[in-house]
C-alpha cells in the first residue's frame, strides 16, 4: 500500500461522512455557512492529526483493556486545546460552533481512526491517514454547507474576522435550508445521489 493511497483514501473512497457515515452531528449542525463548515473541518482535522500522532506513539504502552478510555483522554486534551485556541483567536467562529467544539470528543471519526488505524500503524502512516480523513471530512462538510448556504441565505460566505469575501447568489433564499430540517433533507438527498453513482460504478 503506497503512502499516497493512505493519504487520498479518506477524501473520496472512504469519505467519513458519505461513505462510512461517521461524525454526522457537527456536520449537520454547523453547516449553515461555508466558513463554519471549513472552520469545523480544520478544527476536527487538527484534533485528528494530534490524536493520531499521539496514539500511534503510545500505542504499544497502553493495555488493551483500557485503550478506549485512554484514547478518549488524549482526544479530549486536544479538543480542549482547539477550544481554547479558537476562543482566543477566532472568537466569532468559536461562538458559532458553540458546544459542537467540545463535542468533537465524541465524534466517531476521531475515535474511529484512533481505534481502527492509529492504534495499529506507524506514526507517519497515521499522520497521512489523519490528513486524508480530515480533508475528506472538511470537503464533505463544506459541500453540505455550500448547498445549504446558497439555498438558505443566498450567499457564499468565506469571511472571518474581516478577511475574505462574501458572494451574493441570485436566488430567492429559503430560510428552511439553514434550519435543522434543511440539513437533514440535504444530507439525505446527497447521500442518495452519491449512493446512486457508487452503485452505478459497480
Amino acid at each position: 500500500m503506497s503512502r499516497w493511497n493512505e493519504l487520498t483514501k479518506g477524501i473520496i473512497k472512504e469519505n467519513p461522512i458519505f461513505f462510512i457515515m461517521l461524525g454526522l452531528c457537527p456536520t449537520l449542525a454547523v453547516s449553515t455557512k461555508v466558513i463554519y463548515g471549513i472552520g469545523m473541518g480544520i478544527a476536527a482535522t487538527f484534533v485528528l492529526i494530534g490524536s493520531n500522532i499521539f496514539i500511534s506513539l503510545i500505542r504499544n504502552f497502553i493495555p488493551d483493556k483500557i485503550r478506549i478510555p485512554c484514547y478518549i483522554v488524549v482526544i479530549a486534551t486536544f479538543v480542549t486545546i482547539v477550544d481554547y485556541i479558537l476562543n482566543a483567536y477566532v472568537q466569532p467562529l468559536h461562538k458559532a460552533l458553540g458546544i459542537y467544539i467540545p463535542l468533537i470528543v465524541v465524534n466517531c471519526i476521531i475515535l474511529g481512526r484512533a481505534e481502527a488505524y492509529a492504534g495499529q500503524n506507524t506514526v507517519l502512516n497515521s499522520i497521512l491517514d489523519a490528513i486524508g480523513m480530515g480533508i475528506g471530512f472538511t470537503l464533505a462538510i463544506t459541500l453540505i454547507a455550500l448547498i445549504r448556504e446558497i439555498l438558505g441565505s443566498g450567499t457564499i460566505t468565506l469571511q472571518m474576522l474581516g478577511y475574505g469575501w462574501v458572494w451574493e447568489v441570485p436566488v430567492k433564499p429559503m430560510t428552511i435550508m439553514v434550519l435543522p430540517p434543511g440539513a437533514l433533507l440535504t444530507i439525505g438527498i446527497l447521500m442518495g445521489i452519491i449512493n446512486h453513482f457508487k452503485q452505478k460504478e459497480k
Binding site: A76, T80, Y84, L111, P180, A183, L184, L185, G192
Partner: protein
C-alpha cells in the same frame, strides 16, 4: 413547577435533541430499525441522561469550579460519563438479567452518544441548578425516545416500501428525520 415542566417540554419537543440539535444522530439512524430496540435504547438513554446530568452537575460545581479547573470540563465529563455508563451496565447485568436484555445492552451505545456529553455541556453553559439539570437531562431523553419511537415505527413500515435502491437505509432515514424535524418546528414558540 411550571418552570420545570417548561424545561422538560423545551428539551423534549421544542429543542428536540436529535431533530433540531443533531445530538445523538448516529444511534438514532442505527438503532431505529426495530421498535423493540428503539424502546430499549430510549429508556436506557432517559436513565443515563438524568443520572449523568446530576453527577456532572455535582462534579462541576464541587470540584472543577471550586478548583478553577474549568478547562478540564471536556476531559473530565467524558471520563466520568464513560465510566458511569460502564458501571451501570455491569451492575444491571449482574442484578437483573431481564432488565439487562431490555435496556442494559443499549448502554454501550450511549457512551459515545453526543447527546449525553451535549446535555452535560449545555447544563453547564446555561448555568442550570441541580434540579434544572436533572429535568433538562430527563427532557432530552424523553425527546429522544419520542423521536426514536416515531422513527422506528416509520422504518418498520418502510421495510415494505419500494424505495429506490440508492436511497435505501441511511439516506431515506435522513429524509424521514428531516421531515420529522420539519414537523417538530411547529412546537417553536410554545407557551405553557
Amino acid at each position: 413547577m411550571e418552570h420545570y415542566l417548561l424545561i422538560i417540554i423545551s428539551a423534549a419537543l421544542i429543542n428536540n435533541f436529535v431533530l433540531s440539535q443533531f445530538l445523538g444522530l448516529c444511534p438514532f439512524i442505527g438503532v431505529s430499525k426495530k421498535m423493540d430496540s428503539a424502546m430499549g435504547m430510549g429508556m436506557a438513554l432517559i436513565f443515563v441522561l438524568t443520572l449523568s446530568s446530576i453527577i456532572v452537575y455535582l462534579l462541576d460545581t464541587y470540584l472543577l469550579v471550586r478548583l478553577h479547573l474549568e478547562f478540564l470540563r471536556t476531559t473530565t465529563f467524558i471520563l466520568v460519563i464513560a465510566a458511569l455508563v460502564q458501571l451501570v451496565e455491569m451492575i444491571i447485568q449482574k442484578v437483573s438479567p431481564g432488565l439487562y436484555h431490555a435496556l442494559g445492552i443499549y448502554l454501550p451505545l450511549i457512551t459515545t452518544n453526543c447527546a449525553v456529553l451535549g446535555v452535560a455541556l449545555l447544563n453547564v453553559s446555561e448555568m442550570n441548578n441541580l434540579l434544572e439539570s436533572a429535568m433538562n437531562g430527563f427532557g432530552a431523553g424523553l425527546g429522544f425516545v419520542i423521536a426514536l419511537l416515531i422513527m422506528s415505527g416509520i422504518r418498520e413500515r418502510m421495510e415494505f416500501s419500494r424505495i429506490p435502491e440508492s436511497f435505501k437505509g441511511a439516506p431515506i432515514a435522513f429524509i424521514v428525520a428531516g421531515i420529522l424535524s420539519l414537523i417538530f418546528l411547529c412546537f417553536k414558540g410554545f407557551a405553557v
